[in-house]
């Protein structure tokens, strides 16, 4: 079954001068349970594609289906619920909320879903334990290293047990060792949970550890040479 199906997507941003077309008529499909890397030069719209697939942005044209559900057909409330339940995001700069502890950050998806505070914190503590940060759960992001922050961000993305994990350069801001460790954790969790994972990376070595690699350019997106991905 397809985890993601994007058809004829186009996206243009209103720039300071003329509008900037990020991509047009882009189509992309991915089977469930696959760990995929998307590679490509800066500015070709990799992050924008992740945002469209995750439903936090709207395509100008085209259609996105996640697990058979067309995102555009969902009402805003249903769409938010779908995002909360089925999709996890990891951003390059972790984007943890600085006023809240690691545990509180990880508990947010549960709190948003209406899980009582105590239960949400217990589940968050379990996840932090799983990513090796049980000792750091009362620390605020500022008190954590880059690698730890990203691990907290991964725990937060996985809080609701999503079927689709979208990671936008999760190691892009880390040193080589931390990047390896964070990628290893992502890989482990991907296998353990049977998720579909799409990650954007500029690191060919990390990408080579994925099941498939897609190359993205101004012309569109296609499986990289030697990759087994489907276009």
């Amino acid at each position: 079954m397809l985890a993601v199906k994007a058809e004829h997507l186009s996206k243009t941003y209103a720039g300071e001068g003329a509008p900037v077309t990020v991509f047009s008529d882009l189509s992309f499909e991915l089977e469930e349970g696959v760990l995929t890397a998307i590679m490509g030069p800066s500015g070709v719209g990799k992050s924008t594609l992740l945002h469209l697939l995750g439903g936090i942005d709207h395509p100008d044209t085209g259609r996105v289906e996640v697990f058979g559900q067309a995102l555009e057909e969902l009402a805003p409330r249903e769409r938010a619920r779908f995002r909360n339940d089925r999709i996890g995001f990891v951003f390059q700069f972790h984007h943890l909320l600085p006023e809240f502890t690691a545990e509180e950050n990880v508990a947010f998806p549960h709190r948003i879903a209406g899980v009582p505070a105590g239960q949400a914190r217990r589940r968050a503590a379990e996840l932090l334990d799983r990513v090796g940060l049980s000792e750091r759960r009362a620390h605020r992001p500022r008190a954590l290293s880059g690698g730890e922050q990203q691990r907290v961000a991964i725990a937060r993305a996985l809080a609701r047990g999503p079927g689709l994990l979208l990671a936008d350069e999760p190691t892009g801001n880390l040193d080589v060792d931390s990047a390896g460790a964070v990628f290893g954790l992502l890989e482990e969790l991907h296998r353990e949970r049977g998720m579909t994972t799409i990650l954007v990376t500029h690191n060919p070595e990390l990408a080579s550890r994925c099941d498939t690699i897609y190359a993205m350019s101004r012309e569109g997106i296609s499986p990289a040479a030697g990759s087994s991905g489907r276009e």
Partner: protein
């Protein structure tokens, strides 16, 4: 606790660590506190005076009056007296006998039109010479140039037949008291014993109206309803509040105007709340985008900022209430602002805090603060998550 309230509380608690936000938050809170305190003190000052005016009103006016619906006499004064006597809280019921005539001094040179009635309050002491006593209003005494102990003559507009033809009914009176009226009342020019009033008015029995005094004037409305229900058709019952309705309206209007004017301070303070919340929305735009990516609803983001407005409003209001009520109570108890007792009815500026008014002010301040947060909260709800995250990279 919902996560929206949780986030709002944390934002407020951590804002003091960011100097610019802390400064604006402090100004917002203090602005509201000053506005609330100013409003409480202003209304307490006004209430202090108005309570005393109302107390005078209740003291100097009959608490209930029964009038004939038509004509100038009660159809059955005895029945009215019985019903008033049985009414709850009535401690005294007296007939009203009044009319118009002329008042002149003993020489007959100074003459003035006068309204007379039977004694409304307190007995008049008879002088030793058997001349009936009279209580003159200060104005009437001044017009005639008489003082306590002087003789005056009252002539009724009613006439009686004499050997020389019809002549006005006249009675010689001795001034037993001169009543110093206040701006709150319009006393008759002369008050006389009931039998003299009946003689002058030509009403040997019955009454033109009946007045009653109550143990608790505040229960006048209930007593009036009870009396009106017991009376047959042909009577009207009015309370002391209705009799003083124009003055009561003026007092209420004065309070409303003061409230509206001083409340502007709160409105101005609320503008600080707008800028405070707007600053927080801009500062937290990326975090709001992240919350949306986690599945938060736009309405929840608005709720966070409305809660923040409510928290700022709540703290400011609480501080203002504590300061305003405390200052008013101290100003009243310590007699901080003296008044010349020979000019005013009281020796110091009175302050009276009415809990209902404090609640009204608190609700107004809180609602204004939350209302001020609506605009930035709506802006927060309109944030596009993708854009907020993309632009923060």
């Amino acid at each position: 606790m919902s996560y929206e309230v949780f986030v709002a509380l944390r934002y407020l608690a951590t804002s003091r660590k960011r100097a610019h936000v802390a400064l604006i938050s402090t100004i917002s809170v203090l602005g509201l506190a000053v506005g609330v305190a100013a409003l409480i003190i202003s209304l307490a000052l006004l209430s202090g005076f108005q309570d005393r005016i109302r107390a005078q009103m209740a003291l100097r006016s009959p608490h209930l009056v029964v009038f004939p619906a038509r004509g100038d006499r009660l159809a059955d004064a005895g029945a009215v007296r019985e019903i008033l006597a049985r009414a709850p809280g009535v401690i005294a019921a007296d007939p009203v006998v009044e009319g118009r005539g002329w008042l002149c001094d003993a020489t007959g040179r100074a003459v003035s039109p006068a309204r007379y009635r039977n004694v409304a309050e307190g007995p008049l002491r008879l002088s030793g010479d058997g001349i009936p006593p009279a209580r003159l209003s200060g104005a009437a005494a001044a017009r005639l140039g008489v003082e306590k102990g002087s003789l005056v003559r009252i002539l009724s507009s009613r006439t009686r037949l004499s050997p020389v033809g019809p002549i006005p009914v006249a009675v010689l009176l001795r001034v037993a008291e001169i009543r110093r009226g206040s701006a709150l009342e319009k006393p008759p020019d002369v008050e006389v014993p009931e039998e003299i009033a009946r003689l002058l008015a030509g009403i040997p029995a019955g009454a033109q109206a009946y007045e009653a005094r109550l143990a608790d004037p505040q229960k006048a409305d209930a007593a009036a309803r009870s009396v009106a229900a017991a009376l047959p058709a042909g009577y009207r019952v009015r309370t002391w509040r209705e009799l003083n309705a124009p003055l009561s309206f003026a007092l209420r209007l004065e309070k409303a105007v003061i409230f509206a004017t001083v409340a502007l301070v709160i409105v101005v303070a609320a503008l600080n709340v707008v800028s405070n919340i707007a600053l927080l929305v801009v500062e937290k735009k990326r975090d709001l985008g992240v919350l949306l990516s986690l599945g938060a609803l736009p309405g929840s983001l608005a709720k966070i900022y409305l809660t923040l407005g409510g928290l700022i409003g709540g703290i400011g209001t609480a501080l203002g209430v504590v300061f305003g009520v405390g200052a008013s109570v101290l100003l009243d108890r310590l007699h901080v602002v003296p008044l010349p007792a020979d000019v005013y009815l009281f020796s110091h500026v009175p302050f009276a805090v009415h809990p209902r008014e404090v609640v009204l002010i608190a609700v107004f301040a809180l609602a204004t603060a939350v209302g001020a947060a609506v605009l930035p909260a709506r802006a927060a709800a309109r944030i596009a998550p993708g854009e907020a995250i993309r632009l923060s990279r």
